[in-house]
């Protein structure tokens, strides 16, 4: 192999700045080739994808709306993954949070209930998300059943459960028997921040979550414990930290955040419970967590970045008339570049002098 990786003595600060730029440059180069090949103006394509969504107030606000659940879930997952706890089922916890909070909204619908409704919904969503996450956590610590399987399988179960509710008991009595609850009352709705945009108070909650997580992780004993158990489980045991307790703790936190994101999404941008409340947020958030290097502030940036690729992809479908699949391919390639360039911060690539045999055999 002419190329080898070598761990850097220290994380390279210079590369940390250059890395994202390199990723962007590589993406631009690839997209230029792709769009030129299908006969579109590559520069215009790049503009539509990455610049236009940032120049327009509306798309900018939608960027925030789309990133909010991703960031909120991503922060919780980052805590899990740092501690080497594999919660893959945030999507299910999101759904159960949405269901539990909606229960209050449905029960109080049209009853002139007071302003306690929304706080109660948020609390119910948070608690339910945490409780649903307890199933894989307890199966893990009590029975040794892998949380990867249990948390993933419970995603499907949550989905069918919600489907049952909105098609049966919770169906809107005035909704022509279509599968949706009645629209939530104003007291059961997350308020928007600006007129004419869908940016809602949940986005502020997400920011608070990011800050809290950063503080907990960096400045508290609990944060130290999470990091130590993940990095050196043996040492953590000697230090008296209980790995099982941490499994329960991280699952509870990530489940709670996913559940909160779920009820905020339903009580905010959607406004009622219906099938398809999540376009895969719980899974996309896994990428967000790792793209953000499992760091809460990093997750915030990664969430916004991923949201940009979604919205840019939509703009591209409209303005360039390219198929959705092409925008997915670009999204995949882009993620590869970002991840690969990120790796260069920790490692350096070295070229090893080619062997004489290889030198003569030029192809």
């Amino acid at each position: 192999m002419p190329l080898v990786l070598e761990r850097r003595q220290e994380r390279s600060a210079a590369i940390a700045v250059i890395s994202p730029l390199l990723a962007i440059a590589l993406t631009f180069a690839t997209m230029a080739v792709v769009f030129a090949a299908i006969g579109k103006n590559p520069l215009y394509a790049l503009y539509v994808y990455f610049v236009e969504p940032l120049t327009d107030g509306y798309t900018l606000s939608e960027l925030v709306v789309k990133a909010t659940p991703l960031v909120m879930i991503g922060v919780g997952l980052a805590l899990c993954y740092i501690a080497n706890v594999w919660n893959i089922g945030a999507e299910g916890q999101f759904t159960i949070g949405a269901v539990a909070g909606s229960w209050i909204a449905v029960a109080t619908n049209g009853t002139n209930a007071g302003h306690w409704v929304l706080p109660a919904m948020l609390a119910a969503g948070t608690v339910a998300g945490a409780l649903y996450a307890m199933i894989p956590a307890i199966c893990k610590v009590r029975f040794g059943a892998s949380e990867i399987l249990t948390s993933l399988m419970l995603v499907y179960v949550a989905d069918f459960f919600m489907d049952y509710l909105v098609r049966g008991p919770w169906r809107d009595p005035h909704g022509m028997n279509f599968p949706t609850t009645a629209d939530f009352d104003p007291v059961a709705t997350v308020p928007t921040l600006f007129d004419g945009s869908r940016v809602h108070a949940g986005s502020i909650a997400a920011l608070i979550v990011v800050m809290l997580a950063a503080v907990i992780l960096g400045r508290t004993i609990k944060g130290f414990e999470i990091r130590l158990v993940g990095a050196a489980p043996r040492a953590a045991r000697f230090a008296g930290f209980n790995a099982n307790q941490l499994v329960v703790f991280t699952f509870a936190i990530s489940g709670a955040l996913a559940g909160l994101a779920g009820i905020i999404e339903v009580a905010g941008p959607i406004g009622h419970l219906q099938p398809g409340i999540s376009p895969g947020y719980g899974f996309t958030a896994i990428i967000v967590a790792f793209l953000g290097r499992l760091n809460p502030v990093g997750v915030l940036i990664a969430g916004l970045f991923l949201a940009l690729t979604f919205i840019g992809g939509e703009s591209a479908q409209i303005a360039l008339k390219v198929p959705l699949d092409l925008t997915k391919v670009i999204q995949g390639i882009l993620l590869f570049y970002v991840l690969a360039c990120d790796s260069l911060i920790v490692y350096r690539v070295r070229f090893i002098a080619p062997q004489p045999r290889a030198a003569t055999g030029s192809a």
Partner: protein, 359 residues
């Protein structure tokens, strides 16, 4: 902040307008939102086919774009808004789940015309349209009862929404007009779109003695199983004869093209008005694929039934309609159930033994 956003939005729009050029100005821009990928070979595929027919029919008078695979949750409103902001003046949102999002965007943009498929909320700039697919289902029931030797039909359902339920009921009523003792087995796949699971459901029905299969899911999987098992089946959304040359009896074909052409023309001429169109066999929105693989007398009966539905002498839900529990359904439409009852149907008719889902 609000002002800032408005300024930013205006700047963005201006930029978009300049980049798109002036040639677009005199064309009607039409946008479409699809639930599935255009390659689903089912619901969205048929809408996309109709969009292309519209483009062909109206030539350089229109320009159109679409967004496919749009989630019915939080993404829907943004997707519709994006189409409006890209300058589309007529927007078709082609699934029930887009209803509230369409209503919200329509309210914000009174100068843009919206058309929402299969919904029931309308506004001055928001029409609804759908197909009376139950008319085709009734004919299928007639054919199925004639063709079935076991007297047991198999039905692969997606989700128990009123459209699917009314389809099941219409099928049974049609079948009962031939054989009052006809039975039906129903499996809910709980998906529109998982060919493997649809095939498994079709196999289970065939294994349990059903010899005519119907489906209200999107892929041709059930049709293929019928072909393999040498039994009969009906296609869905499009003509699936290719997948069941010896199995397909007929197929309900969603024919949206004439409607899209008509509405785009109306928008161009300025004659567009908000309306609720529920087209069936008569208006050609629902079309039956050729009647195949059946004896001449069955074919004749099917054609006769089709003609009767078209001329109005036969209504699939003609009164009295007896519900599963033996009660008579109120006859709100005079001689048949009214559209509201059909549109929101949530009961099984007598003759179906299965428990109604959600009850």
């Amino acid at each position: 902040m609000k002002k800032l956003l408005t300024i930013a939005a205006a700047a963005g729009l201006a930029l978009a307008a300049t980049t798109l050029g002036a040639s677009a100005a005199d064309k009607l821009k039409v946008g479409f939102i699809y639930l599935g990928p255009i390659g689903d070979y089912g619901w969205s595929y048929q809408h996309e086919a109709a969009r292309q027919s519209m483009m062909k029919a109206l030539g350089d008078k229109v320009e159109s774009t679409y967004l496919e695979n749009v989630n019915e949750g939080p993404d829907a409103e943004r997707a519709i808004e994006q189409l409006v902001r890209a300058g589309n003046k007529l927007v078709f949102t082609t699934s029930f789940g887009f209803m509230d999002a369409t209503v919200k965007v329509a309210k914000r943009h009174p100068n843009v015309l919206f058309e929402h498929a299969t919904g029931f909320k309308r506004a001055a700039n928001l029409s609804t349209y759908s197909g009376r697919f139950y008319e085709g289902r009734y004919i299928q029931g007639v054919i199925a009862a004639k063709m079935s030797k076991t007297g047991v039909l198999g039905y692969v359902g997606s989700f128990p929404i009123p459209e699917v339920v009314s389809g099941i009921n219409a099928t049974i009523l049609g079948a009962q007009s031939v054989n009052p003792n006809i039975k039906v087995k129903i499996i809910w796949a709980n998906t529109w779109f998982d060919p493997g699971k649809e095939a498994d459901a079709a196999k289970a029905l065939a294994d349990q003695g059903c010899d005519v299969l119907m489906q209200h899911t999107d892929s041709p999987a059930a049709m293929q199983i019928a072909e393999q098992r040498h039994i009969f089946a009906f296609g869905q959304d499009s003509d699936m004869i290719k997948f069941g040359p010896h199995a397909q009896l007929t197929s309900i074909v969603d024919n949206w093209a004439p409607y899209y052409i008509e509405r785009a023309k109306a928008a161009i001429d300025g004659t567009w008005k908000s309306q609720d169109v529920w087209g069936g066999l008569k208006s050609n929105l629902v079309v039956m694929a050729p009647y195949t693989n059946m004896p001449a007398d069955v074919k004749a009966l099917a054609e006769k039934t089709e003609a009767a539905i078209k001329d109005g002498s036969l209504h699939p839900f003609k009164c009295p309609v007896i519900a599963q529990d033996g009660s008579t359904v109120p006859c709100k439409g005079g001689t048949h159930l009214d559209d509201g009852q059909i549109l929101s149907m949530n009961f099984y008719v007598k003759g179906i033994d299965e428990k109604f889902p959600g009850k």
